[in-house]
Subunit: 363 residues, 3 copies
């Protein structure tokens, strides 16, 4: 670390003001900032915090009067929160994983390790695995047989990648992510109650106890460039072909991607979302936390789903949905408003019934 | 690999037609199949795909005219999708875990290792653990003290099994599965707000802040034969006796099985389901993804629950349920239909009110 | 083991009766208890079980006539279930992790290891990590750079703790818990559809495809004393400052705590709960399984949320909530009662409409 305000502003394509040669060591919230920290003040509502801390310089919102805020210098970024991306990348202190191939790692002699690759303590690299240049494989990671990883892969500790997965450049996986576990696919010898209940919407017919036979996963997982997957997230193998994750996809913690799923470019799924088997998710889709999508359906491009939405059938491109089952957000809000007023409606209805019946009696 | 059409048909108890001596290397989707692949075409709606690929032979649906499809040979299985089980088992390329006990594995000298057992790199086997014949323990696995594993156990990488778990034959665990973590059981010195709120359905009474005291798990986990658990799925120890998983149970990824739960034979739970403490699930139950079941309740045999259902009280055997709270699927559909029509009902009701009141004024 | 009834009663601050010198080896459910086991019978409804087992002594409910139950001795605890905490701690057989620092562990020479610390096989301890006295680090654990762990830490197998996390005394982590993975924080260069849809409650405006830029996590995780986290639970780093977990917090399996979240003392979250970014949870909060809380909101002290509740906005202190979206439990029950009666209301309404219209015609 140790960048001047000027250097940081240049890196962010932003403007520096005041004493631009001041050097900073860390970034901090305004109230917690020390004299050598850059306070982050991209939202005016936190300006009062500055007085509680000791910051002399800050990254401030567009139009801020930094001198009136008592600062010696300032950086102004036109889209403050976007500036956070470049800034945090500059000052990220990192995980301090050891450089080089740790002597305790178990690397198969047939694996192809690129240039400037680090492999952490007690990692295992399987036969014929290929690891791209400048990659960092964390401690306790497992890279299976015939896996291909692109350049600048970064695996945190305890990530596992099963056989034959193919992953693009700049892949980031958080601790405990599971790539290419087997898909969950079982069949019964005879037609099952579930098949019958799906057809009839609720009637499973005569129940016959059956055991499940396993369908093995012959496919693996293909992941594009610039993908990040969260802690303990699971992406399963496809049955015949690979499960497919597009470029720029971001998956939060404990997301479940079942076999044969396809996810389009730049889609983002928040924590604990689950996508059931053979479903296709479009590009630029955004789902809040704990969403679910049924199997064998399609979610169009640019769909936005509020947290907890359960998409039980096809959602057309561009729709904003909410609820269980998920419907257009405006329909959901209208239905919900009705639901809240429902106890009142029952009372009003009873009163009206009463008044009509009295009237009838009177006549 | 390298099986003839004839060999595959025999293994599947199916019929082979045409040039049954053709050898295949892989199976593939019709559109992606090469000349030495067996195309999988168990559903006529994908027949057009054949023309896009180069398959000469296919596994086709019953009654298909394989010659009209332009094939040189075909396998016909009366229940196509069930045939997938045997076929995928035959041609599964596997994980290529090393055979034998890897020198980097840490095996307690008191452990009993069966015949033809493989133990992967950096696996740990605890004291007095017993591992059945022909088992494969993956890289980075942990098998705790006094654990018993049956024959033909297959653990993928990074599976952990806590002390004293007892598991039957042919157990399969996907990466990161957690067997026999401690149960989540805490008590307060005095009656807690939760206990009060449960009794009164909503009133927690006077609030007194209390800390939680831990109840240790003295039980472990008992699992039957032919069970499979998904990636990062967690099955907790019982409090006094073991948590119990029946024969043939299949759990998908990130399923949560709390302490003292009992699950009957051949039950199947899809991704991210959660079963709270001391609940009993019957046999042949099927739950879609993200279902939840409250603690201390009972789900009968053959229950089917649609994705996202939250079962908050007892569900009788054979019922098909949906919703939060889960009710009979047909009741749910009826309630939901009403909910969708609710905004309209408010309008119609206001109109009727108005017309009645006008009438009253007129009189 | 091998405690007399007298010793156990003293440890539990309870009373012993009858032959108090009887020694017990284990505790067991009444029906499964052997002659040297202490039967657990804190609820009279399980008294019949005694006859099925062989217990000579039991922990019984206050007021129980232990002699009439056929016992030779008994312990009576005024709050039976609370007594379970002390009792189970006494007789917990434990995991039998090896004592001392295992030769296969990889410990950075700059790490500070306290007195009486055990480090399991194949664990990795990073540079400058500090581990408090009497701690037990399980097999395959990872403790990152500059992490501080208090005294009597107990990590089960395969727990990972990222760089710079600070954790208090008596911390317990179940298998596969992930502390200090990176937060999930991404921005678009221009205003995104999600930002627009939030402002308009459903309209995302004109769709422009954008890729996501990563905001790095500069903060880590700070955890208080007496905290327990469940199997495969994930607590992410804060963006600028640490994510904060108070004293006495208990998290069940697969709970998701996003970046910047703050959780107050003695809060308990059941399995698969998820708390989105920058949300603040009060003290003594209790959430049932599979609850969710939106980002950037506040849940007050002593809130109780039923299983599956999705809290989509601020919840005031002391409230008992249920539903999606979560509302006061009594409102939820009222709304739900209305929903169940809704199909009937449509019929009754149609009948009333009909009767009024007939009346109008008649007039």
């Amino acid at each position: 670390m140790g960048y001047t305000i000027q250097q940081i502003a240049e890196a962010l394509d932003a403007e520096a003001f005041g004493n631009t040669s001041l050097k900073i060591n860390r970034v901090a919230e305004p109230a917690l900032a020390g004299p050598d920290d850059l306070a982050l003040l991209t939202n005016p509502k936190f300006a009062d915090g500055l007085a509680l801390g000791k910051a002399r310089v800050a990254l401030v919102w567009p139009g801020a009067d930094w001198q009136a805020l008592g600062l010696e210098g300032a950086i102004i970024s036109t889209r403050g929160r976007f500036g956070m991306s470049g800034l945090t990348a500059m000052v990220d202190p990192g995980q301090h994983f050891p450089i080089g191939i740790h002597p305790s790692a178990v690397v198969d002699p047939s694996a192809q390790i690129g240039n400037d690759v680090s492999i952490g303590p007690l990692a295992v690299i399987g036969p014929r695995a290929v690891i791209g240049d400048q990659s960092m494989i964390g401690p306790h990671c497992y890279v299976g047989a015939d896996v291909t990883l692109g350049t600048q892969t970064f695996l945190r500790e305890m990530v596992s990648i099963g056989a034959r997965a193919t992953i693009g450049d700049r892949f980031i996986a958080q601790p405990g992510a599971r790539i290419a576990g087997d898909g969950f696919s079982f069949v019964t010898p005879e037609k099952s109650g579930v098949e019958a209940a799906r057809e009839t919407l609720g009637d499973q017919g005569e129940v016959t106890a059956q055991s499940w036979a396993r369908i093995h996963s012959l496919g693996s997982v293909t992941i594009g460039n610039d993908v990040e997957v969260g802690s303990n997230t699971c992406i399963d193998c496809g049955t015949i072909r690979d499960t497919i994750i597009g470029n720029g996809v971001k998956l939060d913690n404990m997301v479940h991607i079942a076999h044969n799923v396809e996810i389009g470019d730049d889609t983002l799924l928040a924590g604990q979302c689950g996508i059931a088997g053979s479903t296709k998710i479009g590009r630029n889709v955004v789902m809040g936390g704990q969403c679910g999508v049924s199997d064998n359906t399609t979610i169009g491009d640019n769909v936005i789903a509020g947290g907890g939405s359960k998409m039980m059938s096809k959602v057309p491109a561009g729709r904003v949905v909410l609820g269980y089952p998920a419907v257009k957000m405006e329909s959901h809000l209208e239905m919900y408003k009705g639901l809240r007023r429902l106890p009142r409606l029952f009372k009003d209805f009873a009163a009206l019934q009463n008044s009509v019946s009295k009237r009838d009696t009177k006549d």
